[in-house]
Structure formats: C-alpha cells, structure tokens
C-alpha cells in the first residue's frame, strides 16, 4: 500500500525535482563561477529560493490538484487512513524540496569550497536552508491541504508567509524581554516557519529553538492530517 502511494506521488512530483535541481544548480554554478557577487550572497540567495519558493511550488501541487481533478475522492476512499495518503505526499514532497538544495550544496562545495567561506560555514548555511525548506514546506502543505485548486493553495501559502512576516516585523518593533532575557522577536521567530534562521546569529538558545521547531513540525503535520479527510466541497 505504502509503496503504491509513494510510487504515485513520485511519478507526479518528480518533474518538480528535476526542475528545481536544474534551476538551483545552474544558478549556484553560474553565480559562483562568474563571481558576480560574494559567495555568501550566492548561498543566501539559494537559501531563499530553495527554502521559500521551491516549498511553495511543491506544496501547492500536492493536494490541491487532486481536489481540483476530483481524484482525492478515489484516494480517500481507498482502504487506507487519510494520514497515510498525506504521509506519502509529505515524504516525496520533502525529497523534492531538499534535493535541489543538496545539488546546490555539492556544486557550491566543488566550485567555491573553502574559498571565501570555510567548509563549516558552507555546511551550516546549507543545513539551515534544508531545515527551513522542510519547515516552510510543512506549513505550506498544511495551509493548502483543503484548497480546491493549485492557485488557491499558492495564494493561501503566500498569505500565510506574509502573515508570519508581519507578525515577525511587528514583534521586532516591540522591545519586550521575555524568558532568558531574550527579546520577543527571538521567540516569535522561533515558532515561525523560518525559525531555523534564528539559529544563525540569533540570541535564542539553539536547543530550545530546535525543540520548538520540532514541536511545530509535528503539530503542523497533525493539523494537515486532520484536515485532509474533510470534505473540500459538499456534494449532497
């Protein structure tokens, strides 16, 4: 059963993986070879594309097209719990989001390893990018799980991202100190889909941030699993 579900998702999503890997790989390669900007900026740009835009592209194409095509009914009527359907989608989606970043990391290491940035710095930044891509992918999938079309899922994802940016921006203006003498922004950001970025240069304790992110990760997927079986449209 599980193999069947994963096989189906892989066939449906693999083009996104090739597309993402080719796009991000070429960007990394050209950027680092031509040296049009510092290596760190190239990596940061790869993080933004791989950590925000790819997850959006993958997440909006996971469940919403099945609702638009009506195939979700066939999937949910199979003798398998709805969360299994979502889990297969989640695993393949996570692979599709992560591989382009890994390709970019390998290419960056080959072309510019230990050049302007130390190996460790490279590894940290790409690890953070992968953490962020998995986190944003989870949030965006959960946000779009009941949307009736890919476009609506995309808009919902953008609205959710914008909402978090707004919350972070507002909390950054409030100089409130909370636990461990940390500012409000440090804690708010730790709960957000972009929480792993707090680990780099942030002042919140890393272990706590990672724990918060793992809890949020589990909560977001549980929320998505609960919602996927709900009727998107009532057909009496």
């Amino acid at each position: 059963m599980w193999r069947s579900l994963v096989w189906k998702e892989w066939h449906e999503q693999r083009w996104r993986l090739w597309f993402g890997a080719a796009l991000l790989g070429m960007f990394t390669l050209i950027g680092l070879r031509t040296r049009i900007m510092p290596d760190e900026q190239i990596v940061i740009f790869s993080m933004i594309v791989g950590g925000i835009f790819f997850p959006l592209m993958v997440a909006m194409g996971l469940v919403a097209p099945e609702r638009a095509d009506g195939t979700i009914v066939r999937l949910l009527a199979l003798p398998v719990p709805a969360w299994n359907v979502l889990a297969a989608k989640g695993v393949i989606g996570a692979i599709v989001c992560t591989v382009p970043l890994l390709v970019s990391a390998v290419l960056a290491a080959i072309v510019a390893g230990d050049r302007e940035m130390a190996w460790r710095q490279f590894a940290e930044m790409y690890a953070m990018a992968i953490g962020m891509t998995l986190s944003t992918f989870s949030w965006l999938t959960a946000a779009g799980v009941r949307q009736p079309s890919e476009a609506r899922a995309g808009l919902m994802g953008i609205a959710m991202g914008a909402g978090w940016f707004l919350v972070i921006a507002i909390s950054s203006m409030l100089a409130v100190e909370l636990f461990h003498d940390q500012t409000l922004i440090a804690w708010v950001a730790a709960f957000s889909p972009f929480g792993v970025t707090v680990l780099r240069g942030g002042d919140a304790p890393p272990a706590v941030v990672i724990a918060i992110q793992l809890i949020m990760f589990a909560a977001v997927w549980a929320w998505a699993a609960w919602r996927i079986g709900k009727p998107g449209k009532v057909v009496a």
Partner: protein, 326 residues
C-alpha cells in the same frame, strides 16, 4: 440477479441479514442540513436503487457508508461494522464506483490496476485480467485517453476485482450517452446474475435502475419519502383519472402525491391505490386507473408534492390531506 419477488419477501422479513442498516441518521454541513433522520435497510443479495435528485443527499449517505463522513446523529452499520470505527475494513470489503469517475489520467490502465491492487488483500489478479478482457480495456492506454464508457468500465473493474460483498455505485453512468449506459447496465446484470452480492445503486436516472432494482428508496431533500420493493411500488402507486366536478365535491383522499388538473378531468397520483380507489368509487364510478413507471412515480413523490402545497397552483390540493410519507 435475484428476482424482485423473492427480494420483496426479504425486505419485509426483519430477520433477513441487513448489509446496510442506517438508523435515525442526520448530517449537516455548516448551515445546510443534508440528511434528516434517515432510516434505511438493505438486505443481503438485493439490488437496491437509491433514487434522488442532484443534491438530495445520496452522495453524503454513500460517503457515510464508507466512513468518509461521520453522522451528526444516529447509527450506521455496513456489513455489520460501524464505518466510524471500522472504515478500513469496510472499504476492503466494499467495491465503490464513485460518481463522475475521476482517475489518475497519467497512469495507464495497467498502472492504475497495479496501483489499486495492493490496497485489497482479496484482490484477484486473474479475475482483474479476465474483467479487463471482458470489458475490452486497452491495458497500455493512458486513463486520460479512454472514452467515458471505457472509464466507467475501468471503474467497475476496480470495484469488482477484490470480490466485494457489497458494491456501491454512486451515479456511475453520469455523463454517459444512452448506449454506453445500457452497455454498463448489461455488464452489471450479466456479472451479478444469481450472485449473493448486494448492489447499492444510487442514481437520478430512474429508467436505468428500473429493470435491475429489487428494492427502491426515494430520497428527497434529505428525507426518505418511500422505501419499498420495486414491485410493491409499482402495484401501489397509481394514477386515478376522474371527472373534475366529482373530484371537487369529494372529501380528502389519503396519500395523494400529485394532482394534475386538465380541462374536465383531474389526474391524481395516490400512494396506495387500494385505500384510495374505494373512496373514489363511492363518489364516482367512471374512473380510470393508470399504471405508472418508476420515472412517473419518482416525479410524483419529488415534484408532485412540492406543487401540491396549500396556496399553490391548484386550490383543491390543500384539502387533500397531504403529508410527508417518511
């Protein structure tokens, strides 16, 4: 297919094993009440027609049987199991052909069969291949390139290949041309002739279920307005045509479903002709009793009732003592 007569006995026999048993079920989505206090029993081996217009609540009922929706109130049992608790077991034992077949267009027929098979422990590959040949399905063709008729046949194959005890067909011929619809029904009848499999056939096309249904339930706006063996329905629901003047002078008739006034005549559809006819004959001898087909009976229950509300169209209707049959 077992005969309607033998099945009518089973419907009336409370000891007959119920494959589907729905009791006092209600369901609401937001502000919209979809099902109201629904009661329904389908005995083993029956071909049961679940009739209702679009939006009547048929699909919601079916999704409840499969555990895709939970009732707000009441109990549901399918093959003796509770869909809210044993949905997976029910789905393994039930063959389901959804309304307006939506399948994964990029898969070939063979791929879709291979994708579906692992979900059912009782899947029979030889039987699936046999059905594919019988239904003349091109195994290497992508699903999106199949004709509508082929798509429905493929859906039927997927619903049958694991030897289900109960088959739920949710408006399976929706969007098909009449020839393909007839072919589908022919396949269905040929396949299940004499078998003990129960078929729950939801449709709004009455003429297509009439030849195959042992028993019928009519669902109207979430209420079951009639549930009986097909033969009983045909025997009891009749149209009585009588002169308009005598009809106007007549006291209220029991179980009136529809009244159509012509120039000098009135055509009254009654639910129980044996009760209504003697009362009519007390007033007037010259009456004509007309047999109705399932289409006309359905129309009388669903549309006739609405036209016959007090204050609408026909002033005589108010005094006919209309009441919901459920």
């Amino acid at each position: 297919m077992s005969s309607a007569a033998s099945n009518s006995e089973r419907v009336d026999d409370p000891s007959a094993e119920a494959v589907i048993d729905i009791r006092s079920v209600s369901k609401r989505f937001g502000k919209r009440q979809i099902l109201h206090d629904l009661n329904l029993t389908v005995a083993r081996g029956q071909t049961f027609a679940f009739l209702g217009r679009n939006g009547a609540g048929k699909t919601t009922t079916i999704r409840m049987l499969l555990g895709l929706h939970k009732p707000d109130a009441g109990t549901v049992r399918v093959l003796g199991l509770d869909p809210a608790k044993d949905a997976m077991e029910i789905r393994r034992r039930v063959g389901y052909l959804a309304e307006d077949q939506h399948m994964f267009g990029w898969m070939s027929v063979q791929q879709l069969i291979s994708f579906t098979a692992p979900f059912y422990p009782t899947w029979n590959h030889d039987w699936a291949n046999h059905l594919a040949k019988k239904f003349e399905l091109p195994m290497k063709t992508k699903v999106k390139h199949l004709s509508k008729g082929q798509g429905v046949r493929l859906g039927l194959l997927l619903a049958l290949a694991h030897h289900p005890r109960l088959i739920i067909l949710d408006d399976p011929t929706l969007g098909l041309d009449p020839i393909v619809r007839k072919e589908f029904l022919r396949d269905l009848v040929a396949h299940f002739h004499g078998s003990a499999v129960t078929i729950f056939f939801s449709s709004h096309l009455l003429y297509e279920v009439e030849p195959v249904a042992d028993s019928v339930a009519i669902l109207d706006r979430g209420h079951i307005v009639r549930h009986s063996p097909t033969e009983d329905l045909r025997d009891s629901v009749k149209q009585i045509i009588l002169p308009a003047r005598e009809f106007d002078a007549m006291p209220a008739l029991p179980g009136v479903l529809d009244v159509k006034r012509r120039k000098y005549q009135v055509a009254v559809v009654v639910e129980d002709v044996e009760r209504a006819l003697p009362l009519v004959r007390e007033q007037v001898e010259a009456v004509e009793v007309v047999d109705l087909n399932l289409d006309e009976i359905f129309e009388a229950y669903v549309i006739g009732k609405r036209n016959a509300q007090p204050g609408e169209e026909d002033g005589h209707v108010a005094k006919l003592g209309l009441e919901r049959v459920a």
